[in-house]
């Protein structure tokens, strides 16, 4: 029972259809309070639909959604109203209001408004009408509106869209700080390298199905390691190793082999042929490569 209470989001057996088209099939996942969870998948995988269902914006054909143990549906989403902040698809911005007035629509607390404006470094333009904002400024305002009430759960759909590298770093630091203070985040992003720097867990989704839900530690462990050898004559060295029975590939002017291989006999073959070895190193797949591999495996 204690375990259930610690769960911030519980999604079980969700099915969603648009007409005859099934967009989500038996989607189930859960995550705990204080975690930053990445929702990853190709375009049209169903990420935004899942987020809308979590916010009670879209009905489901079947399944159960709970936030902090409380049910969420289009007609019952009291928990969303009180405890959740979100940025879905594009910032919800009225061109005739200033950034500050948008925040006023969200909260009555000027202390919290001041905090979020400073945290996202929006002081210079917060009182300007929003129709004069750039794409990045609008995106920041959308994020500010999601954070200003200090909700327990924050759902961000592609939050890094339109942000410059400096703003991306500021946002990353802010999200990590808030997660340490107990806020839970569900973030979707196609910039996997940025997402990998902050998330604790990843949910991989494709064609309306959850392919995996793993912690980053588990994901790193499943990343394949490679032995990378750079020689003065890669082409010849590759042929030599292949004829000796090694599974070797020539990739970007270097030789790539499974990391489990013994190094000495391998190098001996190359050196005995008079080929100079320039560099030997071990590399691991990055998050992007792992996820793309898992996606490809999931489709087979």
């Amino acid at each position: 029972m204690q375990h259930v209470q610690e769960k911030m989001v519980q999604v079980a057996g969700i099915r969603k259809t648009f007409g005859r088209r099934v967009v989500l099939r038996d989607v189930s996942f859960e995550f705990s309070t204080g975690k930053i969870v990445g929702l990853v998948g190709p375009n049209g995988a169903g990420k935004t639909t899942i987020m809308k269902i979590l916010l009670g914006l879209t009905p489901t054909a079947a399944g159960d959604v709970r936030i902090s143990g409380q049910p969420v549906s289009v007609n019952t989403h009291q928990v969303v109203t009180c405890q959740v902040g979100a940025l879905i698809e594009r910032p919800a911005i009225y061109p005739f209001l200033s950034g500050w007035q948008h925040l006023q629509l969200t909260t009555a607390s000027t202390v919290q408004m001041d905090w979020v404006v400073k945290a996202l470094q929006m002081t210079a333009y917060i009182h300007r009408p929003a129709n004069r904002y750039s794409l990045g400024m609008k995106q920041k305002l959308g994020i500010a509106m999601a954070l200003v009430t200090r909700p327990r759960l924050v759902i961000l759909d592609e939050p890094m869209n339109g942000l410059d590298p400096q703003s991306v770093k500021q946002l990353r630091d802010l999200l990590v700080q808030l997660a340490h203070e107990g806020t839970t985040f569900l973030i979707s992003s196609h910039i996997l390298s940025e997402l990998a720097k902050i998330i604790d867990q990843v949910i991989l989704i494709d064609q309306g199905r959850v392919l995996l839900q793993q912690t980053m530690t588990q994901l790193h462990q499943s990343a394949r390691a490679f032995l990378v050898i750079h020689t003065a004559a890669n082409q010849r060295a590759c042929q030599l190793l292949q004829s000796a029975g090694y599974s070797v590939t020539l990739r970007e002017d270097q030789l790539s082999l499974p990391a489990s291989l013994a190094l000495t006999p391998l190098l001996k073959i190359v050196l005995d042929a008079g080929i100079q070895v320039l560099k030997v190193s071990q590399q691991r797949e990055d998050l992007e490569t792992v996820l793309l591999r898992l996606l490809a495996n999931g489709r087979e």
């Binding site: 809308k52 916010l55 009670g56 914006l57 879209t58 007609n75 989403h77 009291q78 969303v80 109203t81 959740v84 979100a86 879905i88 698809e89 594009r90 910032p91 919800a92 911005i93 009225y94 061109p95 005739f96 209001l97 007035q101 006023q104 629509l105 509106m145």
Partner: protein
């Protein structure tokens, strides 16, 4: 509901149209007042009691404001944020309707106020106590016209809200709303004149309810509407509630 209503008022008062409309209505009324100077006393009395056409201008602007108020949420994508903040989406719809209704009241008060000022420039023989139609004073006629226009305007606003809920852009709702406002009565007369066998049913069509103000001003209209003033009043309320109900359901079920 109170919070939702506050949000709608907050947004409304920051829209330029909310502040420009009273100015434009007052200016247009002033323009009409200038043209009435050389008219007969009887015509001048008519223009005073009809608020120098201010009521008609108000309805036109209310159609634009109503359509924009609903359609902008879908146009700007702000409906998702709003829907998250309320337990039921129809609350947003009702709050918007109440705001427009309140604004309509303010506009009608403004029209009456501006009429009071503009009348000073009219014929000096014209007094507020002068008996005009139905053995009632000029002032009383103006007041009744304002109330009837306000009452009839609610039906038009509810129809525009319904149309705006069905369309993604306000322009469609504005076009159909203005069309209904100016051609609705004609369409109703055409229907009632063309299908005499169905008059017992067709007389309850919503456009026939637009005749309320005219029938109050001229009871002979009853031969055209086939309804009494009381029946027109009830018909207005029933159609308004029906339009609000259907509009709220469509608004709540629209795909976000």
């Amino acid at each position: 509901m109170r919070k939702t209503l506050w949000r709608e008022i907050f947004k409304f008062k920051h829209q330029r149209l909310a502040w420009v409309t009273p100015l434009l209505v007052a200016l247009l009324m002033g323009g009409v007042a200038l043209t009435t100077h050389r008219m007969t006393l009887s015509d001048q009395k008519f223009y005073v009691t009809s608020g120098y056409v201010g009521f008609q201008w108000s309805i036109l602007f209310l159609i634009v404001i109503s359509a924009t108020s609903v359609a902008m949420e879908f146009e700007y994508g702000t409906i998702k944020q709003l829907a998250m903040q309320v337990p039921h989406r129809w609350l947003i719809y009702v709050a918007k309707f109440l705001v427009v209704l309140g604004y309509s009241m303010l506009l009608h008060v403004l029209v009456v106020g501006v009429t009071l000022i503009l009348k000073v420039s009219g014929d000096p023989r014209m007094h507020w106590q002068t008996i005009y139609r139905y053995h009632q004073s000029l002032g009383c006629n103006l007041g009744i016209n304002a109330l009837l226009d306000l009452y009839g305007g609610v039906l038009i606003v509810s129809l525009v809200f319904l149309l705006a809920s069905c369309s993604r852009h306000g322009a469609t709702a504005i076009a159909v709303g203005v069309g209904a406002c100016f051609m609705g009565e004609g369409l109703s007369s055409l229907l009632l004149g063309s299908f005499k066998a169905f008059v017992p049913w067709l007389k309850w069509n919503p456009f026939n309810m637009f005749y309320l103000q005219e029938e109050y001003g001229n009871p002979d209209y009853r031969t055209m509407t086939h309804l009494t003033i009381r029946q027109l009043e009830i018909g207005n309320v029933v159609w308004t509630l029906l339009f609000i109900g259907i509009g709220a359901v469509i608004f709540s079920r629209r795909r976000l």
